[in-house]
Symmetry: C2
Subunit: 143 residues, 2 copies
DNA sequence: GTTTCATGTAACCTATATAGTTACGTGATT
DNA sequence: AATCACGTAACTATATAGGTTACATGAAAC
């Protein structure tokens, strides 16, 4: 795994689950095909469960399942469920003095632009569902 | 300083320079009002010099100067000069297998959305110049 | 011409954020 | 009762960014 990898893991997992909906997926299995750790998988998917995108069950036939149909889950929902925007506002260190008007003006400008960019980002993701993505590739599904 | 602070430092500095254009500013002075280190200042401003936004001179009356008038420098130019987008594409770790079609499809979607968001971000910054920002605050300039 | 001042860079150190790991608990199924 | 899988806390490892030191170069002052 790497840096901004929560979204990557979440989408990769949901993509596979959209294709294989018959039985639940275990964290261990997911960890294998994403080359990461089961605990990390649980941490990330836990956020998605809280957002109502997944359900989890313990025990023998346990594991993770989609809580909704793939056509009812947009990529934006997944992104927002993780609660971690790509775009973080400029250098807002707590060390900001806090009295420099010039600095404040500059950062307000940047923060505003970031907000607008993020809105566009989410809007683009909102139009894509899991079903759209898996349908677009047909039966060529390995790994 | 903190995380994404290069842009913060660059804009803070250029803002002050737009107000005080008469004499050059030294890296030490800049480091003081931004609460950072002179070497860091030189590293960041070096990028701006390469982009043609600043000039630097050594020696007794040396330091940094704007290479253009404040009304001819947009915030976007500053951002682009730093060469480090806020938005980095999703988890593109080199560990990508590279053969999973599902994963690839998911990441293409995200990458596209990121590109569009970044375009909006730059576009917003393109309409703001240093002169716009310093003019908007009047003579209330401390720190 | 030598001293001083400022930038230019390389090399290294440090702090922080993030992912990975271990360990142990809970509930469900066999 | 044993097994399986999630739930979570606590710790470790690592990658990145910023900070620091050191030294070189060039320009102005003396």
């Amino acid at each position: 795994m790497k840096q901004n990898s929560k979204l990557s893991l979440a989408l990769h997992t949901l993509g596979h689950m959209a294709v294989t909906q018959d039985r639940p997926m275990t964290s261990d299995f997911i960890a294998q095909f994403h080359h990461t750790n089961p605990v990390v998988v649980r941490r990330v998917l836990g956020s998605l469960r809280e957002a109502g995108l997944l359900t989890s069950e313990k025990g023998h036939a346990g594991g993770w399942r989609l809580a909704k149909a793939p056509e009812d889950i947009s990529v934006a929902e997944v992104y927002l469920a993780l609660g971690e925007p790509y775009l973080k506002p400029a250098g807002k260190g707590p060390d900001t003095p806090p009295g420099c008007a010039i600095r404040t003006a500059m950062e307000e400008t940047v923060t505003l632009a970031v907000s607008e960019a993020e809105a566009v980002f989410v809007e683009r993701l909102r139009t894509k569902t899991l079903a759209d993505l898996t349908a677009a590739m047909g039966p060529a599904l390995h790994s």
